[in-house]
């Protein structure tokens, strides 16, 4: 949006005379059947060059039509049937002002045409099926554009950013409950397997409460970070094909900087891991994983006063000593009833069945 308004402003600033202008605009094709610019403005009587850059993984074109002719052109393109492919899916139509070729993924094409009269000129991809969702509008005008969120010349999905699924109740707006993104009310603890930042691709985000959360790496089998102030915003991740990451809402107050906390037999021996899933009790997950042949469960909960994360472990088949490593300078006080941390290392004797480690902020 910022970029769009800058372009619009620049265009309006360059308005000096009524002579023909030359303008070049690059339009990128993004994944999810969209042009990165859902609309832009030029002065009437502009010779416009559009550089179309296909960043998607499908083939697309761009057809600029006369005002109000987008749907007609899309329908004409559909009627081309099996002839379409050899014609770049562009019908032979007087309603078309200009068109690119069909661009394979990664290709670029340039078209130049003149828009003399004031008007709203649609552009659309006429590849079969795309035309009903993949379009935009060139405003040839000296006037201000209508608000984007009300502009019917722009696809609905691009009229505004999808309202973020904010689950942050901190602050004075706490009374307002955001609508659930699901067909049921949102309840905590709440778990999402999703793409999280600073984690492997098999990540699990858990909101313990509306404001306390952590990220567990289900590939590497350890707690990666914890944050406070909210849970997650999945709106970008859920949109389209899932390329964007889910966002953390709030502030990450702790990250595991050990690389992996457990050692087996000696303090240097990093075990292989194997994630086995989780069980929910009153919605709170208990993760199961293997450290070599040691069966581990881990439940991460919040202390009653809400300032301490408590990690409850159980072990089976731990015939050798285990070690649990922490960073001593990360602002967290680590404690365990089992014994003291010695330079950031907790020794866990063989056959210990239960262990709790508290992490106080």
């Amino acid at each position: 949006m910022i970029r769009l308004s800058v372009i619009c402003t620049l265009l309006l600033m360059s308005l000096k005379s009524f002579s023909q202008k030359d303008t070049t605009i690059t339009v990128k094709i993004l994944g999810g059947l969209q042009f990165d610019l859902p609309r832009f403005a030029v002065q009437p009587n502009t010779r416009l060059t559009i550089i179309l850059d296909n960043h998607d993984d499908m083939a697309h074109n761009m057809v600029v039509t006369k005002p109000n002719a987008r749907l007609k052109v899309v329908e004409e393109a559909m009627k081309l049937g099996d002839k379409g492919a050899t014609m770049d899916y562009v019908p032979n139509s007087p309603l078309i002002i200009a068109n690119t070729k069909i661009l394979e993924p990664g290709r670029i094409d340039t078209i130049t045409f003149t828009l003399e009269k004031e008007g709203i000129y649609p552009y659309v991809c006429t590849y079969p099926g795309h035309g009903f969702v993949m379009y935009g509008a060139i405003y040839a005008t000296n006037k201000a554009l209508p608000p984007l969120e009300k502009d019917i010349n722009v696809p609905e999905a691009q009229r505004q950013k999808t309202a973020a699924v904010v689950m942050n109740h901190a602050g004075h707006h706490a009374v307002e409950t955001p609508p659930s993104p699901h067909p049921f009310p949102v309840k905590y603890p709440l778990l999402y397997r999703t793409f999280m930042p600073d984690c492997g691709p098999a990540a699990i985000a858990v909101g313990l409460t509306e404001t306390e959360a952590y990220c567990f790496d289900a590939g590497k089998c350890y707690l990666r970070y914890a944050w406070s102030g909210g849970f997650v915003d999945n709106s970008e991740q859920w949109k389209g094909n899932g390329s964007k990451l889910t966002k953390v809402i709030g502030e990450v107050y702790w990250r595991d900087k050990t690389g992996f906390p457990f050692r087996i037999a000696n303090v240097k021996n990093i075990p292989t891991v194997d994630f086995k899933g989780y069980q929910l009790k009153k919605r709170l997950p208990t993760f199961k994983y293997l450290l070599d042949k040691v069966e581990v469960t881990e439940t991460i909960r919040l202390s009653a006063n809400g300032t301490t994360l408590i990690r409850d472990f159980t072990f089976k088949n731990n015939k050798q000593k285990l070690y649990f490593l922490v960073n001593t300078d990360d602002g967290i006080v680590y404690q365990s009833k089992l014994s003291k941390f010695n330079n950031g290392v907790l020794s866990i004797p063989a056959n210990v069945q239960r262990l709790s480690i508290s992490m106080k902020r």
Binding site: M58, G106, H182, G200, P201, W238, S243, F275, G277, Q279
Partner: protein, 505 residues
């Protein structure tokens, strides 16, 4: 002013012309009353929109039925929802999954679900109707974090082995800093790539719990299914190395055409697969059983399912159906074994205008109705769930298209009107091929109309034997049928059928 007058005159002229046309049409319609109207799919099938739960974004990733008859569906935001057909109520069964795109129901409390990072056993162990156990069945495959690495399946063979399919990554986006699995950059060049094991493969999970690579050469295999004989079929989507979308008969150890995943094949030389000569790759690959002509026939075929309703869904028992993302129909697959390999035809099965596009997942209900889960997922499609029931009457359709030494035998569902059946004008054949190459998609090459030279109608009036002027292996034979009519006055309304002729008889 002048312009306005001209416009006005034009308008007057148009109105006059309109009146004239209307008169003509009125006359024509009077005449038409004595002629049987053309048939329509809506006379034979009912399409019902299933009412969805409030707040549901119905990008449907998987559907199925519980043994007790409840319908179950997975959605893009990670929900698994149960639908009681009697009460028409939805209830959450599981949540928080990462892009679930496949499921297999085990029992009334347990489902296997393929989500992006793993195959998961989702179980309700305390009987409250909500899952509490999410067991990792296998996550023994790589993930680069690229969005295009979708995972599909599972389906089980008769021995209980499970099969899943792993998409390639797309160079429309990069990979994550942290990945899962061993990184190999060898196959990064190219449109779609495989930089972690076993992207581009069909995987087999044995009863020992070990996931093994089964077959390679897939791009975006969004659909696995067994036919009545237990043969595994997998669909793949038009793109690089796929001139058009395809359906493969998948057998162990074979290579099906997209080279990116070859780097994970045991004993495969350390070469960039896409740099191998195309002719060499072509000689290595097993050809598809069916090609779906791109655009006008199908754009993205989805899940193949076996029609096993015992006649409850109509007359196509034992055949397979497959959905497509861009078309308002499902597609019937009419395959046969020729020269030791499966090949055959695809034909739309229309259900009438209420049918939506985006038909990503198909499942037959215990009552024999076909349920379709729709999806768009940032591409062309639709959202929601539709249920299709057969009204109990037979329509005129092509039941089989079989290659003969001289042409094709078409078997129809009803005896044909002999005159119409033997009219050469009612069969328009065209043949062409799609090229196997690295570029995205393919145009149709060597397009040629193929005249029908003679027609023979069988004694029961159901089979026409067409002799073609020419038959060549390596082509798609596309047939557009005309006004073929049954002896009892029903018209053919699914009139485009495309046969992939890999081998001659």
């Amino acid at each position: 002013m002048k312009n306005h007058n001209m416009l006005h005159n034009k308008r007057t002229f148009k109105i006059l012309l309109g009146c004239l046309l209307a008169l003509l049409l009125f006359n024509a319609s009077l005449k038409a009353q004595t002629i049987t109207p053309k048939d329509s799919a809506a006379n034979y099938y009912e399409v019902e929109n299933i009412t969805l739960s409030d707040g549901l974004v119905a990008e449907t990733g998987a559907i199925g039925f519980m043994p007790d008859g409840r319908f179950v569906a997975c959605f893009h935001r990670g929900e698994v929802m149960m639908y009681n057909q009697k009460t028409k109520q939805w209830k959450m069964f599981a949540e928080g999954l990462h892009e679930p795109l496949g499921m297999m129901v085990i029992n009334n409390h347990e489902i296997l679900i393929m989500q992006r990072p793993e195959l998961t056993r989702v179980k309700d162990t305390d009987g409250d109707g909500v899952a509490d156990v999410y067991q990792t069945v296998t996550d023994d495959f790589g993930m680069s974090g690229n969005y295009h690495e979708f995972a599909f399946g599972p389906i089980a063979d008769k021995q209980g082995n499970l099969f899943i399919a792993l998409n390639l990554a797309s160079n429309g986006a990069g990979i994550r800093n942290e990945i899962r699995g061993k990184y190999d950059s060898l196959s990064r060049p190219g449109r779609m790539y495989s930089c972690v094991p076993y992207r581009g493969w069909i995987m087999k999970l044995g009863k020992d719990g070990i996931l093994k690579p089964f077959a390679v050469g897939f791009r975006s295999p969004n659909g696995l299914g067994f036919d009545a004989q237990g043969r595994l079929f997998v669909s793949d989507n038009q793109g690089d190395w796929l001139g058009t979308s395809k359906l493969y008969h998948v057998e162990e150890g074979k290579f099906y055409g997209h080279p990116a995943g070859l780097i994970w094949k045991e004993d495969f030389p350390r070469v960039v697969p896409i740099k191998l000569p195309v002719a060499h790759l072509d000689s290595m690959r097993t050809k598809e059983s069916i090609q779906f002509p791109h655009g006008y026939f199908a754009n993205s075929p989805t899940q193949p399912v076996l029609e096993n309703t015992g006649g409850k869904f109509g007359m196509f028992g034992g055949q397979m159906l497959i959905g497509d993302m861009d078309h308002k129909y499902v597609i019937r697959l009419l395959m046969e074994e020729v020269g030791g390999a499966m090949q055959g035809a695809c034909i739309p099965l229309n259900f009438g205008s209420k049918m939506r596009i985006g038909n990503n997942r198909l499942a037959f209900a215990p009552d024999g109705s076909l349920w379709v889960g729709q999806n768009d997922h940032g591409w062309v499609g639709a959202r929601g769930i539709q249920r299709i029931t057969w009204k109990g009457k037979k329509h005129l359709d092509i039941m089989a298209m079989k290659l003969t030494k001289t042409g094709f035998d078409l078997t129809f569902s009803l005896p044909l009107d002999p005159a119409k059946a033997q009219d050469l004008l009612n069969y328009k054949f065209r043949r062409f091929y799609y090229e196997y190459h690295q570029a995205y998609g393919s145009k149709q090459f060597d397009v040629k109309d193929v005249p029908v030279e003679s027609i023979k109608l069988s004694a029961d009036g159901k089979t026409v034997s067409l002799t073609l002027a020419e038959l060549k292996a390596g082509y798609v034979y596309e047939l557009k049928t005309g006004d073929i009519e049954s002896a009892d006055g029903k018209y053919l309304f699914n009139n485009l059928i495309c046969y992939t002729l890999n081998q001659l008889r």
